[in-house]
């Protein structure tokens, strides 16, 4: 009861000033094509049946609904897809069950590509990429674990420093060649 009162008493004036309508200026007509460019198959054939949402483990927990994202992509409502791109677990259940043979997980991947190219890089991506160009692996080596490795009779992770340097140099060359370092913002780590 209290919630209802809150909505209707405070801040009413400003909210009523503009009509709650979506028109052309909110829509991005190239959005569906952009999605296709980055690998999300033709979203226009989605029949909005909702099967993907039904099987999605993430949709069960939060407000994000897989089908809704696809509709926003069809329609061109780019701003409504923000905030949902990084929660997909890419379990591919949606692709498995889709009757129109669409791949919503790939559409999420395409959305991530678009986000990164607009400068939105989540911290965990930067950390993993930094680890890759420094150690050749996305997970930072832990000296404690290295000790346990030796105890078990395994070689420490980077036993051969020369080999490691060669590998790291190769990776840095590749990452620099695709301009990935610039994309993610780890140029300082790439010392070629």
């Amino acid at each position: 009861m209290a919630e209802v009162e809150k909505v209707f008493i405070s801040g009413l004036h400003e909210e009523l000033a503009e009509d709650r309508v979506i028109n052309e200026k909110d829509l991005d007509p190239e959005f569906a094509k952009e999605i296709r460019k980055y690998g999300g198959k033709n979203v226009m054939t989605c029949l909005q049946c909702g099967n993907c949402t039904g099987v999605c483990p993430i949709s069960l927990k939060i407000d994000y609904k897989t089908r809704n994202i696809i509709k926003c992509c069809q329609f061109g409502l780019k701003k409504y897809t923000l905030g949902t791109r990084w929660v997909c677990a890419t379990c591919y259940r949606c692709y498995e069950h889709c009757p129109a043979d669409l791949n919503p997980a790939e559409v999420m991947i395409a959305l991530r590509h678009i986000a990164v190219r607009e400068g939105i890089v989540p911290p965990f991506v930067k950390i993993a990429a930094t680890n890759l160009v420094k150690y050749g692996q996305s997970v930072k080596p832990d000296p404690e674990i290295d000790k346990i490795r030796v105890e078990l009779g395994l070689k420490p992770v980077h036993a051969d420093q020369e080999r490691l340097t060669a590998v790291v140099r190769e990776i840095q060359t590749l990452v620099h060649a695709t301009k990935y370092d610039k994309l993610i913002g780890i140029q300082e780590e790439v010392k070629l």
Partner: protein, 696 residues
């Protein structure tokens, strides 16, 4: 242009084998059509006419505004008579449109109708080169030049007429087959109906009530079934299958295998004491496994013919030699375990294929858990449970415990509209049959709650939207828009929980139901597949038979004389099946009333001197026209059955010995066109010589 010496030749013989190519310098008349502004708006027809007149062999060239009109045609006839024209070239639209018109026209003027050649300067010139008028005109000039060159080499041909047997074969005894058979029989033709089940009636006999009016299916079908069985013009071959079909329109030779019932049809009166005596009980296919029958049985009480059949697989006598209880019980000595299959040979003029459909069977371990959960059933199984003469006497019960279900869910689009399983089409009837069944259940038990999980509701026909409205208003049936993602069975109560997103509410819902009905789609039947193979019928990508033209020829197939009706051609409801069956009957009746059929003479023929009997043409022909025969001189040669030949040219193009020629498309004629186009002088027989040398 050099004038070759006139040569005398027999008109009907294929002259490409003669030493000088057989050209006689015939008198060619060219008629250029303006087609209003369709052609004249782009091509300078005056120029084309002028240039045509200057070509050798051409004695007159005329231009006309609408050559196909009465005026235009009159002009052609006049010109033919005045100038003694022997070959006619009409430069106008596509021959697919007006070739018959102009053939008729020159025939009226006394010429053989096959001495016409049409040059397409509309679809293949003015309509596609609208922006380049000068180039289009030049192209039209060249096309006419080619056309004149070919026309000069045309031979007169005679269309053949074959008689048509005034009898028809109807394959499939469902509602479509029955209607077609009755219509043909009432028109006075003899009809043979072949049905592979022991009784006719098809799927319609299994249904409870029909939409949108709620008519009882078997009540409206049974009178037609009985009428068919009593009709003097219809011979019903039930429990039979078509094994082989040879021949062509008007003259089909059909081999039918009458499977042994082990009961003599003439002696059996359908009393049923044999079934009472039989000790073996098996699942009844008609009740889809919900009911039982004996090893000697009729599929359902209203079966036509009402004759018993022994199921060889389950009959004890066939397994061990013992038990003749049924034979002993029968008062008419109708039972004979020693019966054999019988082969019946028929000669018919036309064939109607009405082999119906089957319903989609859900996958094992699939999302809908059809095989794992007792309380998940298909739409057709629901029909049997609702049917008053079904296994439960019309009481809808849960398969797991026999209790009345209080909450029922329908799931739509099962096996349809699904690219993943390669069934991308809509089965057309499922929305309405689910709505219809929901209404029936609510009528019987008003305290039931029904939810329909749908993607779209397709209520397109007469009375359909009204029923959809009624079912929501009067009976409060709930419609949830979402495709169920997960079904879970409670191990003790066997109730099913369905998880689906309600896409209109934007929320994931989980609801529990006592019974779940899968509205399964329609798929091509096994009977369709086997008759399709026997006849060589093509299918569309969804697996149903392909009609000759999707819009304008809905009941004919690519094979002349073979028609298709009912769900064999595509999913449809009963009114549409009946309408299509009547259409097929009417189409089949046309050649049978005419008593003869004209076979186009544009066929292939084999020069037996050149043929070595390799059989390549037999393998390649899509119509089965060539056959290998032993000739009197000895050896095997190919011979074309003209009535089956469609003149496609595949055999002629592939014969390694160049023994086959296609009339009006001989090598000589085609090469003359090429040389005319290239502006080369075609000296006497040069074209033919080059053809023989195999120059490509």
């Amino acid at each position: 242009m050099t004038e070759p010496a006139p040569q005398d030749k027999t008109v009907t013989k294929d002259t490409s084998a003669e030493p000088d190519g057989g050209r006689k310098a015939p008198r060619v008349g060219v008629f250029v059509c303006d087609c209003g502004s369709n052609i004249a708006g782009v091509v300078d027809c005056g120029k084309v006419r002028e240039a045509a007149e200057k070509l050798g062999d051409v004695v007159v060239a005329k231009e006309n505004k609408y050559t196909c009109s009465d005026v235009g045609q009159a002009e052609i006839i006049k010109a033919i008579k005045e100038h003694g024209i022997e070959r006619v070239v009409v430069a106008a639209c596509s021959p697919r449109l007006h070739e018959p018109t102009f053939r008729n026209c020159i025939q009226q003027a006394g010429l053989n109708p096959y001495l016409l050649h049409m040059v397409n300067i509309r679809e293949q010139c003015s309509w596609v080169h609208g922006h380049e008028k000068a180039k289009a005109t030049k192209k039209a000039l060249e096309l006419v030049k080619m056309g004149v060159s070919k026309a000069a080499r045309l031979e007169p041909l005679e269309a053949r007429e074959v008689p048509v047997e005034p009898s028809s074969l109807v394959v499939g005894g469902g509602v479509a087959g029955i209607q077609a058979a009755l219509d043909l029989a009432n028109m006075g033709f003899k009809v043979y109906m072949v049905e592979k089940e022991p009784s006719i009636g098809g799927k319609m006999a299994m249904l409870d009530k029909t939409f949108p009016t709620g008519d009882c299916a078997i009540c409206i079908l049974a009178p037609k079934m009985v009428e068919l069985s009593r009709h003097p013009n219809i011979t019903l071959l039930s429990y039979s299958e078509v094994e082989e079909v040879k021949g062509y329109i008007g003259n089909f030779e059909v081999k039918v295998r009458k499977k042994a019932r082990y009961v003599h049809e003439e002696l059996c009166v359908g009393c049923g004491v044999c079934a009472d005596a039989c000790p073996v009980k098996v699942d009844n296919e008609f009740d889809l496994g919900f009911g039982q029958r004996k090893a000697i049985y009729v599929p359902f009480p209203q079966a036509v013919p009402l004759r018993y059949t022994i199921d060889k697989e389950h009959c004890i006598h066939f397994k061990s030699g013992k038990c003749l209880l049924c034979a002993k019980a029968c008062a008419n000595n109708a039972i004979d375990h020693k019966m054999k299959d019988e082969i019946v040979n028929l000669k018919v003029g036309t064939i109607i294929v009405a082999t119906g459909y089957e319903t989609y069977v859900p996958l094992r371990k699939g999302v809908y858990k059809y095989w794992e959960c007792d309380n998940v059933i298909t739409g057709l199984e629901l029909e049997r449970l609702l049917n008053a003469s079904g296994p439960t006497g019309g009481h809808l019960v849960r398969p797991s415990d026999g209790k009345r279900p209080e909450k029922i869910a329908f799931i739509q689009c099962v096996g349809s509209r699904n690219k993943k399983i390669d069934r991308n089409y809509c089965s057309r009837v499922c929305c309405m049959y689910a709505i219809k069944n929901a209404q029936i259940i609510m009528e019987h038990e008003p305290n039931t709650e029904i939810s329909v999980y749908y993607n779209d509701i397709r209520a397109f026909g007469k009375g359909f939207e009204e029923l959809y409205h009624r079912v929501r208003e009067e009976y409060a049936v709930e419609f949830i828009r979402g495709r169920p993602a997960k079904l879970k069975e409670d191990p003790t109560t066997k109730r099913i929980t369905i998880r689906a997103e309600e896409t209109l509410l934007n929320m994931i819902t989980e609801r529990e139901f006592d019974l779940v009905v899968l509205s399964t789609g329609l798929i091509p039947s096994e009977g369709s597949k086997s008759i399709g193979k026997t006849l060589g019928l093509t299918t569309t990508p969804d697996g149903f038979f392909a009609e000759a033209h999707p819009k304008l020829r809905p009941v004919e197939t690519a094979l002349d004389g073979v028609y298709v009706a009912g769900c064999a051609q595509g999913p449809k409801d009963i009114p549409d099946s009946v309408a299509q069956a009547k259409a097929a009957a009417s189409s089949a009746a046309a050649p049978m009333f005419a008593k003869k059929v004209t076979i186009e003479p544009l066929t292939a023929s084999v020069d037996e001197d050149l043929c070595v009997g390799c059989g390549l043409c037999v393998e390649l022909c899509p119509y089965g026209a060539p056959e290998l025969v032993t000739v009197e001189k000895g050896g095997t040669k190919a011979r074309i059955i003209e009535a089956l030949c469609h003149g496609c040219g595949t055999c002629a193009a592939s014969c390694p010995q160049k023994a086959i020629t296609c009339k009006q498309f001989t090598d000589e004629q085609i090469y003359s066109e090429i040389f005319a186009a290239l502006g080369a002088e075609d000296k006497k027989g040069e074209g033919r010589k080059k053809a023989e040398a195999g120059v490509s």
